[in-house]
Symmetry: C3
Subunit: 269 residues, 3 copies
Amino acid sequence: MLKKEFEKAFSLLKNNSPLVHHITNYVTAHICADITLAIGASPVMADAIEEVEEMVGMSSSLVINIGTLNERTVKSMIKAGQKANKCGVPVILDPVGAGATTFRYETTKKLIEKIDFTIIKGNLSEIKTIGGLSTKSRGVDSIDMDSNSHNIGKELAKKLNCVIAITGQEDIISDGETTLVLKNGTSLLGSITGTGCMSASLIGSFLGTGISPLASASLAILTMCISAEMAAKRLSKDCGSKSFKTYLIDGIYNMDYDSISKEMNVEYV
Amino acid sequence: MLKKEFEKAFSLLKNNSPLVHHITNYVTAHICADITLAIGASPVMADAIEEVEEMVGMSSSLVINIGTLNERTVKSMIKAGQKANKCGVPVILDPVGAGATTFRYETTKKLIEKIDFTIIKGNLSEIKTIGGLSTKSRGVDSIDMDSNSHNIGKELAKKLNCVIAITGQEDIISDGETTLVLKNGTSLLGSITGTGCMSASLIGSFLGTGISPLASASLAILTMCISAEMAAKRLSKDCGSKSFKTYLIDGIYNMDYDSISKEMNVEYV
Amino acid sequence: MLKKEFEKAFSLLKNNSPLVHHITNYVTAHICADITLAIGASPVMADAIEEVEEMVGMSSSLVINIGTLNERTVKSMIKAGQKANKCGVPVILDPVGAGATTFRYETTKKLIEKIDFTIIKGNLSEIKTIGGLSTKSRGVDSIDMDSNSHNIGKELAKKLNCVIAITGQEDIISDGETTLVLKNGTSLLGSITGTGCMSASLIGSFLGTGISPLASASLAILTMCISAEMAAKRLSKDCGSKSFKTYLIDGIYNMDYDSISKEMNVEYV
């Protein structure tokens, strides 16, 4: 069922190269641009309040990432998100470190109040913070382990009427009805920065093709994780985390439906 | 004729390592710094209004790139550009997505009114926007095809009294009198982000040596395109866009006059 | 003596993965995040005035880098640094281009007046600027040569009651009592951008484990330089500065106490 959408997404990407508007952080902006282009979509980064409405109006999706948020960019996020809602452009939230500081927590709350998100993607700590549950994080990384994470995803998806994607050793995707556990990946993903941000860019790319939010989030995470598995195999002696990052983007660039279909390890719960 | 200037530029780069002041975007700033250093110049990124005049005063060229412009940085661009004009420091404009939003369009217009640019480099859509012609773009990418692009470049060069560089499948360089078509390159350049920004940094590097604007723009684009051809040959099975980007910068680092002279494919029109 | 601390630092990094809060520039932020994670610490970049105090309160060290400073971020630097002082979180200053412009000079002076730094790391030109000595720089790079650099480091360390690290062909580390000259490295380090910023991130990572400032600064620079030596050996024909940068981070990722201990070339003066 999802597989049909996956196949469609790859052919749509080739033909339409959807424009993915990012309002994001300055740490991973370049690798998010790289990965968006690598999968076949077209990235644009623009955060000036004077232009975000116009830019999102011509885009196929909007990714909001609070990684290095500040007063100026938060205003632009809200303006862009609300315009996207008006135009029917789907919006993805990446609530980086949502529970780390009061400013991030309050901003995340405000964004969710003012914008209807199609997909919210975070690590377990970020998602629990949004769900009002107590959690453990350090900086922008989750150190929470919770065997109950699929229920948490499902409940929050219902409550916020969107798709929730929880990334971790296993990844959970839920639209409140259907919940999937994705079991691909490698521990090496923990050795590089920006994997969360990159995943959000891939979600934006697939969502921009018009396939369902559940399929978009699932396909994005699978693409990331299966590319990572392939990248790990290319590593020779002396290679380390930076070669792995290069090979990961290479893998995204070479990714196709056949590889996804063959390698995916998905369970419905 | 140009070849003599090309040869001179490489030896001047080695001896003088000109300082290239960038006011640029946060997406490609790092790769612009990388490429400027790789070719033998010295990059500095500074956009605080308190310091841009002083910084440009000690620089050999100034690159203004509006990729992630905002109200604060636009003010710095104008201040730096005007100071550069006063000091005789040549200024390059990279009008990223000039036609994409009203803010970018108005900013580009204002920059051109207030600053005398030595070289303006853009894709066809950006250059047509500046020339007041209707065009097609999406985000910051051109999807315009126009067989008449050398005339467009030539006319705009005359009108603005500067060198116009139009990047695309073939690249057009014109100072209003002489117009060149550069035919090197590979379609893989379309698979990586920041090629336009990197080209502007190379232009700034060569222009900083004191060779003519026409030679600087031509040599920069040739350096980019010939490095890309060499990088494409290094790609093995499993490689993708990120390995290509690494090899491209490697190629810039190893570039010399002999390779340019041997590989360049230039036509005067 | 230092070796014992070096060994301890590597085992503490593995177990504790200290959080290193950066207020830094947008040019090298991504590679600083990469290198911090590669050595085994945990990077967080946050510069909004609303959150820096909370973020630094949960961190093991704070790195302040003025590479692309502006009015907004300078305020955050001061707020974060003062909070760090109150909490006992050690603070590192990377005064990028301190002597290049009045704004950088005044900012550096203000930071040193308002914050007690544990370690200040810079090239010779930056350190001499802080010490009130005349020097030569261009942009953010030092072109100063001074055979007297260990005395300069030692005197400034005494005066400011902190550790001074001067990077260059040879690196000087002094706490005012003990002064070391580190002789590892390769000239290739001059071919890539961000080596200074990366060194500061490594200092932050080691300092975050709780070992002494003198050992932290020494071990960070040794890790950088010995990784660079190893990276240089991996370069094959056609490789250039970008492959070197990739291999450098790979080397950091694979670095351990044994390699440091075996390869380090240190002299006490």
